[in-house]
Symmetry: C2
Subunit: 331 residues, 2 copies
DNA sequence: TTGTAGGCGTTATCAT
DNA sequence: ATGATAACGCCTACAA
């Protein structure tokens, strides 16, 4: 049986209330008993029961991190950011992913909140509608969304429109007048923002915005990139460059397929990706891309949510981080 | 204020004990009250307080996943395996990494166990000594180690010696008589096993085992690979191939540096990596490597630990999984 | 089949 | 400065 406050209290000849106060460093304890109690606690190898403590204080001392799919390297990087600044923070990180689950993210959150399992939550890269996210607002447990904007919840996100604009602008400045775009099928907020940035840059440079130049792929994989290359080449308005907000793996597929067909990158065809994954430096030519500050996003998220949980901050917080354009060889 | 058992009890005209039995699907409850209680619970939107429940049942309903460094993609893949089979399992996953922490893995585990925060633990890729791991055995909370062998704890691991042997054997069969080896500096169990497999294969093929042919790098990065290439080339016994248990990124660095210097891979110099990371398919030539079944390791780990936690299984379990040799273009 | 009562290990509010 | 005592919300004998 584990040793409890009561065990210590008996040995020390005081009551468990006193021991509790000593353990929690409360004032108004005589130096003598404090010392004695601490000594006995150490002798008995006492550890406070976190669950009992949680019940008494009505705090779980836990932050829930809810992700739609842990298989995404993007999500994992943010998680790493969370954990690495979480070091100094006395909250346990509980990890949940919803892929293949019966519960949606909002349902899961609602349950966790009501079961009082978590004191706060971080929602990474959710694709739920504003309507569904509304439940997060309604619970008494604070929540912050990451990699997504939201008016009524704290948020940390990147300026995707700006990132896409930078990339497109770069291509335009290199003299490209026919710039295609490859997006991931699902109509998410980030995708739309990137598309908007792409179009804004085109317009600014006096180029026609042409829906035929925007192609879709199923997911961010190399085979999808190889496949889309053919469609790229058979466009009536033939592009000399492509911007690939769908992701770096698709961009890499495009680069490889182009080379495979004897088309030189970037001389004959320029490619710009999105994300800056490790493989971007491996492909030849190395991939020009747009980097998102994933670790920083995780860092901000955990800090903000802890501030909220502890009541240090109550105002709605929206933290926008900049993307960074990474020029390499492919454009 | 959240609704509690008592609230339901009052509305239903029974005591909270009865409500508790209904909520937990215990037998010996009349159909009538069961129905009534459930209806009211739903009306009031009742969720049981997980912490109170934990205190009463002395269970945290949580599994701790302890990793030395979440930045490792190897660790993350195993974590993904854990989470993806964890779907159906009613334990919360709590994530801890120890890098940059004051506590070692064993100290952290000990604290979590004694604070009764977790019912079981999964320790991924620990480099602690058997002596240090001993504390895991001593606590009443079961623990399983992943990607490492251990006599006195449950374990899931790959046969690294076999994986290295396969790779070396493959090179030998291709006619290579001078095969170098590049390992990661830290002397870990997996490294030693791989080295043993490498040497065993060499001997079997009648080749001299030569310590000069074994080089060390600081970590598994591309620049380290590029750097080590020079040393490889200046070896007195000039290798025609290299096996790189240090990891795929180092192997990729070697491939790229070789090409950079006009040495053809694999014609003039063959390279075999270890891990099969996504970039292995991106580099040109694509990287021949040894794949570790990371998702499966996570899968087994969570299943075994849950069996242990729930007392379904008590015997020590050692699960060895095979590596898979992935022939591609670089060898 | 249901109620009573006590306990799980802490914290917190009063007195003293 | 310390002790009683009552929560916290749920579970579980045992009694009725």
């Amino acid at each position: 049986m584990p040793v409890t406050l009561k065990d210590i209290a008996e040995k020390a000849g005081v009551t468990s209330a006193t021991v509790s106060m000593v353990i929690n460093n409360k004032p108004n304890i005589s130096a003598a008993t404090r010392k004695r109690v601490l000594r006995i606690a150490r002798e008995l190898n006492y550890y406070p029961n976190a669950i009992a403590r949680g019940l008494a204080t009505r705090k779980a001392n836990a932050i829930g991190v809810i992700v739609p799919n842990l298989a995404s390297s993007f999500v994992v990087r943010i998680l790493q950011g969370i954990k690495s600044t979480n070091r100094d923070i006395d909250y346990t990180v509980q990890l949940f992913d919803t892929i293949g689950q019966k519960e949606t993210e909002s349902q899961l959150f609602q349950r966790l909140a009501r079961e009082r399992r978590i004191d706060g939550a971080i929602l990474i890269g959710s694709t739920e509608s504003d309507e569904e996210l509304r439940v997060f607002k309604d619970e008494s447990v604070p929540c912050i969304v990451v990699a997504r904007t939201c008016d009524f919840l704290d948020s940390v996100y990147v300026n995707n429109a700006r990132g896409a604009d930078d990339a497109t602008d770069y291509l335009a400045n290199k003299g490209h007048r026919d710039i295609a775009c490859v997006i991931c099928r699902k109509q998410s907020l980030p995708t739309n923002d990137r598309l908007a940035g792409y179009e804004a840059a085109l317009k600014r440079h006096g180029m026609a915005v042409d829906q035929d130049m925007v192609l879709e792929v199923a997911d961010d994989t190399m085979p999808e990139g190889r496949k889309v290359f053919e469609r790229l080449m058979s466009l009536s308005r033939k592009p000399s460059a492509v911007f690939v907000p769908a992701g770096d793996m698709v961009a890499i597929g495009i680069v490889k397929e182009a080379k495979h067909r004897g088309i030189e990158v970037p001389a004959q065809f320029a490619v710009v990706g999105y994300d800056d994954i490790p493989a971007a430096e491996v492909v030849e030519p190395t991939l020009t891309t747009v980097r998102q500050p994933k670790l920083e996003m995780g860092d901000h998220a955990i800090n903000i949510i802890v501030d909220k949980v502890e009541g240090r901050e109550t105002a709605l917080k929206h933290k926008e981080l900049p993307t960074k354009f990474i020029p390499r060889e492919s454009a």
